[in-house]
């Protein structure tokens, strides 16, 4: 099944959320539920909980920076089991290119600015991919224990 929103072509799970912080719990539940069958054989509980933390931070960043806090937009979130990895993809229409390397590393005690650093620490790969029609895809990848 081809999915124009995410670029995925294999069966997967997907949710569509509104760009409001009240949706964060749904995002966390979605990632936890999708990954639950893979714990503990392929992923440790800690690795999946870190993926949940990263997914939460990506969603906050999209709402806050991609959509400037406006709550009437949508975010498409997909989860896919690639066998050797799990991929969570977020697509937004904020149209704001983002360079994670431009964000300075936070120092302990500052009030904000931790999101990107947390994402980097929590997943094996985090990618920000500009798409067509003002869309941006953010992909989080975690590798299975036996992926080599």
């Amino acid at each position: 099944m081809d999915d124009l929103k995410t670029g995925f072509s294999a069966p997967h799970a997907r949710i569509i959320i509104q760009s409001t912080y009240t949706e964060l719990g749904r995002v966390r539940d979605f990632v936890r539920d999708f990954c639950a069958p893979f714990v503990p054989r392929r992923f440790s509980e800690t690795k999946i909980e870190k993926l949940v933390i990263a997914a939460n931070e990506v969603t906050v960043n999209i709402i806050q920076h991609g959509y400037s806090g406006e709550g009437h937009h949508h975010i498409w979130i997909s989860a896919k089991d690639e066998g050797h990895s799990v991929v969570i993809a977020f697509v937004d229409h904020g149209g704001k290119p983002f360079d994670p390397e431009s964000v300075p590393d936070p120092h302990p005690g500052q009030i904000g600015g931790y999101g990107i650093d947390i994402i980097k620490q929590c997943v094996d790969i985090a990618e920000y991919l500009p798409m067509d029609n003002s869309r941006t895809m953010t992909r989080l990848v975690v590798f299975s224990k036996n992926s080599g």
Binding site: R14, I16, R28, G109, Q110, I111, I118
Partner: protein, 127 residues
């Protein structure tokens, strides 16, 4: 493929509820909600900051909290700054594994003592 629309899982706003206790001159703030995230961190700051006025010893009990994100941590750091500005001391206790993971990611333990029990926290405030 499972597809869920925004209407199927509409959640209620997560209101911030806390219980406060005074013990040995210390203010203990127990968070009653399970989540402190971007959805309620502003309300948390608004509700907690007045409680901290002129308090020299403050301990946060995280026993019921299951998830905190970076926005929640930012709200807690704001509280810490206020207490420090009044020459006070603030500590955390009763932190579960998931919350501890987030605290480690942002190196919270470098700026605040994290204790296992209330007794340890009270001792830490007087150390």
């Amino acid at each position: 493929m499972k597809i869920f629309s925004p209407l199927q899982f509409r959640r209620k706003e997560k209101k911030v509820e806390v219980t406060t206790i005074i013990q040995n001159d210390a203010l203990i703030i127990r968070l009653e909600g399970e989540v402190l995230d971007a959805g309620n961190s502003a309300e948390f700051k608004e509700k907690i900051q007045p409680l901290l006025h002129n308090r020299s010893q403050v301990a946060f009990d995280f026993g019921k909290v299951r998830f905190i994100d970076s926005s929640g941590c930012g709200a807690l750091i704001s509280c810490l700054r206020k207490v420090n500005a009044d020459d006070g001391k603030m500590v955390f206790f009763n932190v579960n594994r998931q919350v501890q993971t987030l605290f480690e990611l942002i190196r919270m333990h470098k700026i605040i003592e994290i204790h296992e029990t209330r007794e340890d926290a009270l001792a830490g405030l007087n150390a």
